[in-house]
């Protein structure tokens, strides 16, 4: 479903952040991307949701290249994905509910559907009791859960999660992993970037290890 062919990425001329990445991800995969700080995990995910463009190489989605896709098409692609960013990117002055609902509203769903679906997703991440609270009044762990809920609520075909459990205790982390496994079983492909090798070992899914921009296995 998603293929990276000889992908290179540099932010500044002369300094490659990703080197010759080759990756093939099938529909329904659950893939961990591991590696130390600065390895290029976030960059790899950004290339997939087109926040950044590849410097060299090709990214194919369902067989067609997205490397040169027109900017106006990007929103439509992103709507079908779920994205958890390392810095959450939540609207801090809106309520938890509004943040999660945003993903559905831009798809034009009906109010009643949005309400039902958002509350259901918030219940899954144990935050339904705080749906009315302004997001800035949550602890960081709680904010991270909101970000996860927003990424899941639109039943994405692809979920990109960048360190989604960095601020969660091990109990919450395993709850989230269980949810991810559940939606993965329903067909969502998951890419999960983390520096936590132990977590990857515990969950026991496929993983790719990055180091200094290269895949090492």
């Amino acid at each position: 479903m998603l293929q990276m062919l000889h992908v290179y990425k540099s932010y500044e001329p002369g300094h490659m952040v990703l080197h010759d990445i080759n990756l093939s991800i099938d529909k329904g995969d659950f893939l961990f991307i591991t590696g130390p700080s600065g390895a290029g995990k976030t960059t790899l995910l950004k290339l997939i949701f087109l926040e950044e463009r590849v410097t060299k190489g090709q990214i194919l989605m369902d067989g067609t290249s997205i490397s040169n896709i027109h900017p106006s098409k990007i929103p439509h692609l992103r709507r079908r994905m779920g994205i958890v960013l390392q810095d959450f990117k939540l609207l801090l002055n809106r309520t938890v509910f509004e943040n999660v609902a945003l993903s559905l509203e831009i798809l034009g769903h009906s109010k009643s559907y949005v309400r039902k679906k958002v509350m259901h997703t918030l219940r899954e991440v144990n935050l339904s009791h705080k749906f009315k609270i302004l997001t800035k009044r949550l602890s960081y762990g709680e904010q991270q859960k909101v970000a996860i809920a927003r990424a899941m609520v639109n039943n994405p075909f692809l979920l990109l999660a960048d360190e989604p459990c960095a601020y969660l205790d091990s109990h919450s982390t395993h709850e989230i992993i269980a949810i991810f496994e559940h939606i993965n079983a329903w067909g969502t492909t998951i890419l999960f970037a983390t520096h936590n090798q132990k977590l990857v070992d515990t969950v026991g899914k496929k993983s790719v290890r990055l180091n200094q921009g290269r895949i090492i296995n």
Partner: protein
């Protein structure tokens, strides 16, 4: 808070714009009134018979430039001179015959109330028979014309400066307002909102801000106008408020500025 600032800036800018407009429109009215008083006086030869005078009057009143024409007989002229001399009427007491000529007083239609038109008209009038002399206060008209040009230039300069400033200030206020909300825009983009979805609320907001700003501006102006009229104890007929089409225009400019401001700002702040 940001909404308040933007709306307030629009309101204030438009209020000034409106105030200057109001002053200039009133000055323009005054100038028009003055111009109406521009007249040409034709002194007639003595001892013309009444039908000749009637003929001449019809001929002149049919000229394109002429708005109306008034006949002033010798007796009328003497009466006028008497009032003009005020306290020195004694001077006229010794007269046996009336030395003053009869005359026509001609007022012109507005488009011809300028020095060039008057000069060509005078040339034609001088060619008529039975006309002794043509008087038209050349120096005064010339001074008035220069005055008009000056006022128009000042008006244009101030208005231009004002308009540029208004556009500059409003568009920049909106730019800053959007800048302050950049984070929000970025988040919308991450979850896949289209540009239209992101921009529409901003445009609606800008439109409303422009409208509310314009209404506020007009209210402020009207308040000042009322105060002004009551302060100088004049009836409101001598100073008029902005005509309704200018008011509509201000509202249009307000909305336009709001939208234009957002438009410029978006081009700068939204990548993709």
């Amino acid at each position: 808070m940001i909404h308040l600032i933007t709306t307030g800036s629009i309101a204030f800018s438009l209020a000034i714009l409106g105030a200057v407009l109001c002053v200039f429109l009133n000055v323009d009215d005054l100038v028009k009134k003055w111009r109406k008083e521009v007249s040409i006086v034709l002194f007639l030869e003595d001892n013309l018979n009444p039908s000749k005078i009637e003929n001449l009057k019809t001929k002149i009143s049919e000229m394109l430039e002429v708005d109306n024409i008034l006949y002033i007989s010798k007796e009328e002229a003497l009466k006028r001179l008497k009032t003009q001399l005020e306290n020195q009427e004694g001077i006229l007491e010794g007269l046996e015959t009336n030395p003053l000529p009869a005359s026509f007083e001609i007022r012109l239609k507005p488009p011809f109330q300028n020095i060039q038109s008057i000069r060509t008209l005078v040339q034609r009038l001088k060619g008529l028979s039975a006309i002794d002399e043509v008087q038209y206060g050349e120096a005064w008209i010339e001074r008035l014309t220069t005055g008009f040009r000056l006022i128009k230039l000042v008006a244009l300069a101030i208005f231009g400066l004002l308009f540029m400033s208004t556009v500059f200030i409003i568009s920049n206020t909106i730019k800053l307002a959007i800048y302050a909300r950049q984070e929000e825009l970025e988040i919308m983009r991450v979850v896949g909102a289209t540009n239209l979805f992101i921009k529409t609320p901003f445009y609606i907001e800008a439109l409303l801000q422009g409208l509310v700003g314009a209404l506020l501006a007009i209210s402020i102006l009207f308040g000042i106008y009322r105060l002004f009229v009551s302060k100088v104890q004049m009836d409101s007929s001598s100073i008029s408020f902005l005509p309704s089409d200018v008011i509509l225009g201000i509202m249009g400019v307000g909305i336009g500025l709001g939208l234009f401001g957002s438009l410029i700002s978006f081009r700068r702040f939204i990548r993709t």
